[in-house]
């Protein structure tokens, strides 16, 4: 994770287009200014950032399933449950599954696990739109490569 850049996942470790699932991993940094406020003397990964990690993972799934022709944007978070504390230095596994492919939107079930234990889960809906501009698409393709999102999923050209 690079919290200062709002990059909540480190790597995509599995993408299954047929099953419409994705798994990513992320290491919570041991140090961040965020922990100075959340909380003094008891550093915890903020729940809203865990939700963002699930949203980013679901987003990469939507990008890949749309072969990098469309861009997802967070629309709603439902039934979010933050089940246990996450501390600096913990390794996280983040899963998302597309449960409904609507016209211009996607519904996903997402969860975060650490050391085999369920940390949090939510139903996340994304609006799936045209890329606002070609530059953004190019940058997203570059970012996908950095994340190891393999590129059978990437559109031709």
């Amino acid at each position: 994770m690079r919290l200062e850049y709002f990059l909540l996942i480190d790597r995509v470790i599995d993408l299954n287009v047929a099953d419409r699932t994705i798994r990513s991993e992320a290491l919570v940094p041991t140090e961040s200014t965020i922990f100075e406020g959340h909380f003094p003397g008891f550093p915890l990964m903020p729940g809203v950032l865990l939700i963002e990690a699930m949203a980013q993972t679901a987003g990469w799934l939507a990008v890949a399933l749309n072969r990098f022709d469309r861009m997802p944007f967070l629309a709603s978070v439902k039934e979010a449950k933050l089940r246990t504390f996450v501390k600096p230095g913990q390794q996280l596994l983040i899963d998302a599954k597309l449960t409904h492919d609507g016209s211009g939107f996607a519904v996903t079930e997402t969860k975060v696990q650490a050391e085999g234990k369920l940390i949090c889960d939510a139903t996340i809906t994304l609006r799936v739109l045209e890329f606002p501009n070609p530059e953004m698409r190019k940058l997203m393709l570059e970012r996908a490569t950095q994340l190891g999102l393999t590129v059978e999923a990437q559109a031709d050209g």
Partner: protein
Amino acid sequence: MSSTFDTIANIIAETCDIPRDSIKPESHAINDLGIDSLDFLDIAFAIDKAFGIKLPLEQWTQEVNDGKATTDHYFVLQNLSARIDELVAAKGA
């Protein structure tokens, strides 16, 4: 009215917390019931599941933006019911 309308009205009532008896066949989802685009995503999701279809919201929006259709054609509930019946029929054909 058709059961399609009743199903839609029940979905809208539940999703948007609108009294069921205020939802009429002639109600316009946006102009009369005040449903916004985010709530309509939830409604579309529920309709897709209930009828086993995929409401072509993007196509409809494009047609409205291009002046090829009015919002009444898709968002007055008796018309929405007819569109859904067409989609269900097309799926079964």
